[in-house]
Each structure stands twice: as structure tokens, then as C-alpha cells.
């Protein structure tokens, strides 16, 4: 079962997974055992190869699926709006306009439209979609849909933001811009962000800590702290320190898959 509160001793923990495994109904062992501690206000990236269980880990943290073993603790879960989730696909309702899609979380919390409109407009402006509020999802490009999905996750002002490869489908320029916007939001609002990505570069640029996962079933293979000067900006992208971190994380990622290969060889 997902416990909705952490013990009081751990006032700084936002998310804690202990020995979490997930076996899907069809017998796929997708995850674990996974141990993960994330502090309040931390920006952590989960990095791993395709199919290693990153999305599964996020779904577990969000409480959308239950772990097969182990415990998932998430702090400050009193309200239904404490977690924002950006799914790997945009996941918009095709029958509603972008504005109504973004308004959904507030609507589900019974907030009257008159009251929610300002927050919806603000969230749309944050992701640069103010001009497309009345468009339908099919009228938007893939990247714009993703930004709409991000606006929806932000509109409740959640404490914890779970993001599943939100920018994977975007062009570099837009991605860089949204990376910066995300960092600004994170700094200003002090949210805890768990960010899933395939990209070594993106994970290094954004996070304070990169958690490198083994291939399926995903476990923590290595953790890299990125102790770069804040605030980060485009200058960081071209810095020597950045290149160094990218090299370290790449190596860790390579080792994660090598370890897998040698383990498989040992088994054979």
C-alpha cells in the first residue's frame, strides 16, 4: 500500500522508496528492488535505458499503481493537488480546448471557473501557450501539446512535480528554453522535481542529482551529484565543468548497462 505521510522524524524527505519492486500482471518484472530518497526541494533526474522502469517508478510515486513489494512514502499528501504529473505522452482530452484541459485539475477540486481562470491563464502564459488557449489539442504541434500538459501539471501549484521525458519530442531550441523555464520555476517555487529522461546532457543541465538506473528490472546503479553554481544558464552548457559532469554521467550509464551484460553472461 502507498502510505500517504512520512514519519515525522524525516521532515526533509519528500519521497522515499524502500525495496520497491513492480511485477506487472503479465509477469514482466519492471522494477527493482529500488531504493530512493528524495529531499524536499530537490531536483533529481532518473536516467536509464528504454524500458528500464522509469515510467513505472513515477507511476508508483504518484500512487497510480501499487508496488508489488516494498514501501512508497510521499510527504505532504493531504491535498489532492500536491503532485503534478507530466506523462510521457501529452495525454490531453481531445474534446476540450487547451484552456479546459489545463483547468481540469482545479475543476476536479470543485473550484468555480471564475476563480480558476486567472490561474489557468497564468499557467498557460508560463509555458507560452496564452495565444492557443481556445485551440483544440489536435490543432497543436507535438511540442505545444507537451507544454499544455506541463501547464496542467503546474496549475495546481503542486509540491512535487513528476515529469516523464516531457521534452523528448521537442527541438533543441525549444527544449533549451523550456529547460531554463523549468529551472526558473523550480528555483522560484521551491518544488521537488523528479525528472525522467534519456538524455545525459539534459539530466546534467537540470538536476542536482542524477540517478542512473540499470536496465530492466531497474535498480539504482549510480548517483552523480551535479554541484554546479546556481543559477544555471546557457553559459553552463558550454562550460568545462558541464562537459566533465556529462562525461562522468555517461560513464556511469555505460557501466550500468555493462554491469547488466556481464551479469547476464555470468548467468549463462
Amino acid at each position: 500500500m502507498v502510505e500517504l505521510a512520512l514519519p515525522p522524524s524525516d521532515a526533509h524527505a519528500a519521497v522515499r522508496l524502500r525495496g520497491v519492486t513492480k511485477v506487472y500482471d503479465n509477469g514482466t518484472v519492471a522494477l527493482g528492488p529500488l531504493d530512493l530518497n528524495i529531499r524536499k526541494g530537490e531536483f533529481v533526474s532518473l536516467l536509464g535505458s528504454s524500458g528500464c522502469g522509469k515510467s513505472t517508478a513515477l507511476r508508483l510515486i504518484a500512487g497510480l499503481i501499487a508496488p508489488s513489494a516494498g514501501t512508497v512514502d510521499v510527504a505532504a499528501q493531504s491535498s489532492s493537488q500536491a503532485i503534478g504529473f507530466v506523462f510521457q505522452e501529452p495525454t490531453l482530452m481531445p474534446w476540450s480546448t487547451i484552456r479546459e484541459n489545463v483547468r481540469l485539475p482545479l475543476k476536479l477540486a470543485h473550484m468555480p471557473d471564475a476563480q480558476s481562470s486567472a490561474r489557468v491563464d497564468e499557467a498557460l502564459a508560463q509555458v507560452g501557450l496564452a495565444d492557443f488557449a481556445d485551440a483544440y489539442p489536435r490543432e497543436l504541434s507535438g511540442g505545444m501539446k507537451m507544454r499544455a500538459s506541463l501547464a496542467r501539471a503546474l496549475v495546481t501549484e503542486p509540491d512535487i512535480l513528476l515529469m516523464d521525458e516531457p521534452f523528448a519530442a521537442l527541438d533543441e531550441i525549444t527544449r533549451f528554453r523550456l529547460n531554463n523555464d523549468l529551472l526558473t520555476l523550480w528555483r522560484e517555487l521551491g518544488k521537488t522535481v523528479i525528472f525522467v529522461t534519456h538524455s545525459v546532457f539534459e539530466s546534467v543541465y537540470l538536476s542536482q542529482r542524477v540517478v542512473v538506473m540499470t536496465s530492466r528490472p531497474g535498480r539504482v546503479s549510480a548517483e552523480c551529484r551535479i554541484e554546479a553554481a546556481e543559477p544555471r544558464d546557457d553559459a553552463f552548457r558550454t562550460s568545462v565543468a558541464y562537459a566533465g559532469y556529462c562525461r562522468d554521467v555517461s560513464q556511469a550509464l555505460m557501466q550500468a548497462s555493462d554491469a547488466q551484460v556481464s551479469a547476464a553472461k555470468a548467468q549463462a
Binding site: A62, G63, S80, W95
Partner: protein
């Protein structure tokens, strides 16, 4: 300036709405062929009346036929509304409780697979005639609504379900904001089928009722004309029935298009 002129024939042909032109062409060709067969073969009107005679009969008998048409349409409409409400309501019930679905679905299927023409005489014994006819229209029409609505309610994007779960939406909110809108295209598809079927059900029951005695719907006019060998009137009534069926279908298609126009693939025009 030759190079700037639009390519003549090809473009205009592609601009013509083929969905209207071709059925009309086939229709006219069919009428002409029918007329030729009757004239050249010198077929007597009590075997096969020509199109002109059918049309004349339609005008001459309009008072009787229009009244009968009204009766049949009203029956079909009542059956259709009952089917729409019953089919959607039952699908919603099934959606709320798997047990209800297991318990009731087999009987819905039994109703569906038993030919209505075989049920109608029974209904006419137990129910007042007009009610029996409506019930038959309902029996024929409700299953596609039920089946399509159920399919629609079960076809919701799994991630959207997760999203609603994340924000702790109530059962009612999930239904209202997620499942019903997602099911709408399916429900409308079911209703489109049900519209035609309710007419078929009404006619089948009217024919059974007509054989039993009283009756004044279009189907009754058809069997009555057949006894009296008034074949032109039979054709006129038949013509009215098919026109009614087409109009019902087009009306429902129009409603469906209007409701889905903004977002559903089926109703979107192809990008030029």
C-alpha cells in the same frame, strides 16, 4: 498567360462532391431503366407499375399515405428514444457494476438475436397494439446503442484515467468529464444504427399487427395494398418508407457531425 490558367477538367472533377453526384447518377439511371423495362416489356401495372404511375399514386393517395407515414414515424421515434435511453442507461449501469453486466448482458443478447418478426405476434397478445409495436421497435434498436456505449466507456485513454486518479476524481466526475465525452463518438455511432433499426422494428411489428386485424401504419398500407393487388400504392408506400429511413439516417449523421465537428477524427475535414 496560358501557364497561369488552372488545369481545367481534373481540378473541377475533384472539386465535385462525389458523395452526392454518384448516388444521384445511379438513381436516375435506375429510374430510366425501370421505366424502359416496363414500357418495352409492356408489363401490366398490377405486376410492376412504372415510376411515373408510382409517383402519380403517391400524389393521389397522399392523404392516406401521409397519415400512415405519420403513424409509423411516431412509432419508430418512440422506439428510438426508448432504445437510446435504455441502451445508454443500461451501458452506464454495466459500467458501474460488473456483476450487473454479467447478470443482464446475456438477456440483452437473447433479445438481440431473436428475430423481431417472431417476437411481434407474442407482444401483440400481451400488450395493447400500439405499445407492442413500440416495444418491437425498441427491441431491435436498443442493442447497438448498448454495445457501442459499452465499447466507448471502456475505450478511455489509460493515461487520462491515471490523471483523473491522480487528482482523486470521484466516480461521478470520471463519468461526467472523462468517460462520457470519450464515449460520445461511439454512442452517436450506435444511435445512427438504431435510427434505421427502429424503423425496421416498427414496420415488422406493424406487419404482424396488420395480419392480426387493425392498424394504420405504412406497413399496414403495404400489406393491405398487396391483398387488394393495388401494386402502385404498395410501391408508393415502400418509396415513402425508404425515404423516411434515409432522412432519419441523414438527420442523425448531421447531429453526430455537429457534436463531433470540433475534435473527432471522423468529423474532421481532410486538410487540403
Amino acid at each position: 498567360m496560358k501557364g497561369l490558367e488552372p488545369l481545367p477538367s481534373v481540378d473541377r472533377a475533384s472539386a465535385m462532391p462525389g458523395s452526392i453526384v454518384w448516388p444521384v447518377v445511379v438513381f436516375i439511371a435506375g429510374i430510366v431503366l425501370w421505366d424502359l423495362v416496363v414500357r418495352i416489356g409492356e408489363i401490366p401495372p398490377y405486376l410492376l407499375p412504372g415510376p411515373l404511375l408510382v409517383f402519380k399514386t403517391l400524389i393521389a393517395d397522399w392523404p392516406i399515405l401521409s397519415e400512415s407515414l405519420g403513424v409509423t414515424l411516431l412509432t419508430a421515434l418512440e422506439g428510438f428514444i426508448a432504445a437510446a435511453i435504455g441502451g445508454i442507461a443500461l451501458a452506464l449501469l454495466f459500467n458501474q457494476s460488473k456483476w450487473l453486466e454479467y447478470a443482464l448482458l446475456p438477456y440483452a443478447i437473447v433479445l438481440q438475436v431473436t428475430p423481431v418478426i417472431a417476437i411481434a405476434p407474442l407482444m401483440l397478445i400481451y400488450l395493447p397494439q400500439q405499445t407492442a409495436v413500440v416495444v418491437c421497435a425498441w427491441i431491435v434498436a436498443f442493442f447497438p446503442v448498448l454495445a457501442n456505449t459499452t465499447l466507448g466507456l471502456n475505450s478511455v485513454d489509460r493515461n487520462l484515467v491515471g490523471l483523473f486518479q491522480l487528482y482523486r476524481a470521484s466516480r461521478w466526475q470520471v463519468l461526467r468529464y472523462l468517460e462520457l465525452p470519450a464515449a460520445l463518438p461511439f454512442i452517436l455511432g450506435g444511435l445512427r444504427i438504431a435510427g434505421g433499426l427502429s424503423l425496421i422494428g416498427a414496420v415488422a411489428a406493424e406487419i404482424a399487427a396488420g395480419a392480426a386485424g387493425a392498424g394504420s401504419g405504412l406497413a399496414y398500407r403495404i400489406s393491405e395494398s398487396s391483398y387488394r393487388l393495388n401494386i402502385p400504392r404498395m410501391f408508393a408506400a415502400l418509396l415513402l418508407l425508404s425515404v423516411a429511413g434515409i432522412v432519419i439516417y441523414m438527420l442523425l449523421a448531421l447531429v453526430s457531425h455537429g457534436l463531433l465537428r470540433r475534435w473527432h477524427e471522423s468529423a474532421l475535414r481532410k486538410e487540403k
